[in-house]
Amino acid sequence: MMHQALQSATQWLSQNLQWMLPDLSRETLALIWFLLLAVLLIGYAILDGFDLGVGILHPFLTKDDHERRLVMNSIGPLWDGNEVWLVTFGGALFAAFPEAYATVFSAFYLPFMLLLCALILRAVSLEFRSKVYSEVWRRVWDWLFFAGSALATVLFGVAVGNLLQGIALDEHYEFVGSLTDLANPYALVVGVLAVAAFATHGSIYLYLKTEGDLQERIKLVVWRSYFVFAALYFGVTIWTAYMVPQAANTLNEYPYLWVVPALNVLAVLNIPRAFALGSEGYAFFSSSCVIAAFVFLFMVAVFPFLVPASNDPSNSLSIVNAASSRITLRIMLLIAGLGMPCVLTYTAVIYWTFRGKVKLDETSY
């Protein structure tokens, strides 16, 4: 009986909500979903970027347990929500581009298993660390927190580095390369760049959340990680131009897109400028822009594919060939349209609730 009531309710819904679903072709919907994936990935990279960065720097900037707790609690209420962006990105990729989800996740099998391991260790280190009042216990979790954050960041970078170059695919979009192919120097350097970028981003965040002596020391770390990042950014940009010239194809096809790499350079330069001028919030905004631009440029570089094939370009997995059916893409658009405003509201509420300098109380980690 309840089942029937539900069924008639949903029938009414599907008949009367048609107007909310724009009448678009499968190709257009696939393109929209490609852009929405970019949005989800940018959201993830900016938000989890700073808390991964905090994890990467965690053992290197603190003197005592109190400071270490401050650093961890600066992201305490936020990291879990930030990671949901990754989970939702995974779900959206699965639903909108099942072929790409299957190809990429099975191609990077062992690296992704390590990634999972890193994400698990990171999450539980935060939870477990301060539960027991023992030096040894806490130091172990401190280092696992660092290791998990750093390893996860490197692996994200390695995955991006490989996808930029393309991976070996057969005509069924199955990966035919080997693990050693994935661990190539270019991809590893992109992994290191990711670490430097997140460390810079995370250090500016920490600067904003701390005060006093700790903040003074973090200032130094901001500068150091920035210079490492800037050097790597310069090097990787040149290497990319040399290694994957096809990455610029789409930019050349739509020249106005060159505005993005140009803004990217300006944002990179603006980080030290704003930070030196004392507008640290502006510096954080700049580093967020840098990360957003990286993700956007990555998506532009692989376009019109999701997974370029390095061995035989005709085996590349294109956006349209990877996409779900028109019906599913439309429903997903409706789900995203209903869900994303809520998501942005929760995110705003949470960040507002936990604004200001980090303080410890009995609810802290």
Partner: protein
């Protein structure tokens, strides 16, 4: 048994999902209790409720964190280990998963922050609102994941269609015909059309024939687990004479939830079993160890099933019992389809579902007896004096965990050899149409080939065909070793920290601080670290207190 990618991936999935599923039922069940305590505090302004909520929130947060950490694995694993399955079902299954992310996870994780860290940052009303949102988020999450799983059991609102694809030239450019249009053609691999399931009616997929039955059963299972978890801890406090007022208060609340859930779960379980028979007769026959499809069907209580000779040895059975259970037949004689009518290659392995089913039903029956007896003693006013009963509750949580786990084992192993179960072919009256050999038939999909011939395949997917082709068995073996190691570590640390929280109890943390000065050794203080301010009052820096 071969240690190939299929077998190892199944082991890995079983390992990771079983570990993960220790936590969501706890958080879903405890979420209800937190909402109750928060509401009572707002209503009565009685500090005892707030204190109780603070204590259970800490335990909740611990369980939640491990649930989240082990949950990410699940989301990745469809793609890493079951890529072929993902290609086949992504259009349908993926959308439910994505909806779970957008509608449930953001809600849950966002407001969890306020629930755990927000005591001093928001007012009591906002805090209560956050508690409700977290509880709702965890229930939403179970809704979407059960929808996805139920679609695998009883697909609806979808059809299996051949795929087309745009052709790329050797430079990776789209191939265009003379008119400049993109060339799109049917996709074949080795002459066989590539097919996948696609949504035809989203709401029919969401409300597939087993969703409602399975969702109520799963949620009640979570309530059973959450309430028995709380009962276990409270019973232990009562036995030890610690925090007795607090423990009795929580005990009674949890007992009410446990009693209602234990009763209703038996009713919904019965209805669900009838639903299973309707759509997956092979599964129900395996649960019951039922082979013979003619005459009245007996309900096997105990016995040793023998799949090869199609009988149950040393059987203790209620004559005609299964006829009654399946068909509500008061004459105890209507026949029930047995495994004899299922093609041997379409039969699930018998031992695991047969045993799991018995453990689940046995545990459920025990819960009803236990909670009814406790309610009786509570009414008589002698409940908390019965030490044997309290000890039963201390350990009963393990049985509740086991019941939740084996319930899923029965459901998932019973679905084999299918990963997506095809529908049974039936006539207008709803009776299965048997094939020439006297076996029930599963629905098929027929595709017409360009040369006019027809190719047919099952309207489902076999588990063996769902695994990743690009992943080697050794790699899966390596990841199993890794997960085993990490999960053993996590499980041990979880129990250790949980035990400390329980030992510390719901009192304000003065106790813990007093101990911090007194104790020494590797692990010095039970419970949470003392707040820095309190250390400062005592004239200690955190480091000194630690020495």
């Amino acid at each position: 048994m071969e240690f190939d990618t299929v077998f190892l991936s199944r082991i890995q999935f079983a390992l990771t999902i079983m570990f993960h599923y220790l936590f969501p039922p706890l958080t879903i069940g405890m979420g209800i209790v937190l909402v109750y305590l928060g509401a009572m505090f707002l209503w009565t302004k009685d500090k005892a409720y707030e204190q109780a909520q603070k204590f259970w929130t800490k335990v909740f947060g611990l369980n939640f964190a491990i649930g989240v950490a082990s949950g990410i694995v699940m989301e990745f694993q469809f793609g890493t280990n079951w890529a072929t399955y993902s290609r086949f079902v992504g259009d349908v299954f993926g959308s439910a998963l994505a909806a779970e992310g957008i509608f449930a996870f953001f809600l849950e994780s966002g407001f969890l922050a306020v629930l755990i860290f927000g005591w001093n940052r928001v007012g009591p009303k906002m805090h209560f609102f956050s508690t409700c949102m977290v509880a709702m988020g965890s229930i939403f999450s179970s809704v979407w994941i059960v929808i996805a799983n139920s679609w695998q059991q009883t697909p609806a609102g979808s059809q299996i269609v051949p795929m087309t694809r745009q052709v790329l030239d050797e430079n990776g450019q789209l191939l265009r015909d003379a008119a400049g249009d993109v060339v799109t053609e049917p996709w074949y691999i080795d002459g066989v059309p590539v097919m996948r399931a696609e949504v035809t009616d989203f709401w029919a997929m969401v409300l597939n024939p087993s969703t409602a039955h399975r969702l109520t059963h799963v949620l009640l299972g979570c309530f059973v687990m959450g309430s028995f978890f709380i009962l276990s801890i409270c019973a232990w406090y009562i036995l030890k004479g610690r925090h007795v007022d607090f423990a009795k208060r929580s005990f009674v609340g949890a007992l009410i939830l446990a009693t209602i859930s234990s009763f209703t779960i038996a009713v919904t379980g019965h209805r669900q079993a009838q639903n299973v028979y309707q759509h997956q007769p092979a599964k129900l026959a395996t649960f019951e160890g039922h082979f013979d499809s003619d005459g009245p069907a007996d309900l096997t209580l105990f016995g040793i099933p023998d799949a090869e000779n199609e009988k149950v040895h040393y059987e203790v059975a209620i004559p005609g019992g299964l006829s009654f259970m399946v068909h509500d037949d008061l004459a105890f004689e209507e026949p029930v389809i047995g495994l004899g009518k299922i093609r041997p290659e379409d039969r699930p392995p018998i031992w695991i579902p047969f045993l799991a089913w018995r453990i689940m039903v046995g545990a459920g029956t025990f819960f009803i007896v236990l909670t009814i007896a406790s309610c009786w003693f509570l009414w008589r006013g002698t409940l908390f004096e019965k030490r044997w009963l309290m000890w039963t509750y201390v350990f009963n949580v393990l049985l509740a965990v086991a019941a939740n786990q084996v319930g899923w084992i029965a459901a998932e192993v019973g679905r084999q050899p299918w990963i997506v179960h095809p529908a049974v072919v039936r006539d207008a009256a709803g009776e299965p149409i048997l094939d020439d050999d006297g076996f029930i038939q599963y629905e098929k999909v027929v595709v017409e080939m360009p040369d006019g011939t027809e190719i047919s395949r099952h309207a489902g997917l076999r588990t063996d065909d769902g695994v990743s082709k690009a992943v080697a068995a050794e790699h899966v073996a390596a990841s199993i070793v890794m997960f085993t190691f990490i999960y053993l570590l996590l499980g041990a640390v979880w129990l250790f920290v949980l035990n400390r929280k329980i030992q510390a109890g719901p009192e304000p943390p003065e106790d813990g601080f007093a101990k911090a000065k007194k104790d020494s050794g590797f692990l010095k203080v039970a419970g949470d670290a003392p707040p820095e301010s309190r250390l400062a009052e005592a004239g200690l820096s955190p480091v000194e207190a630690d020495q």
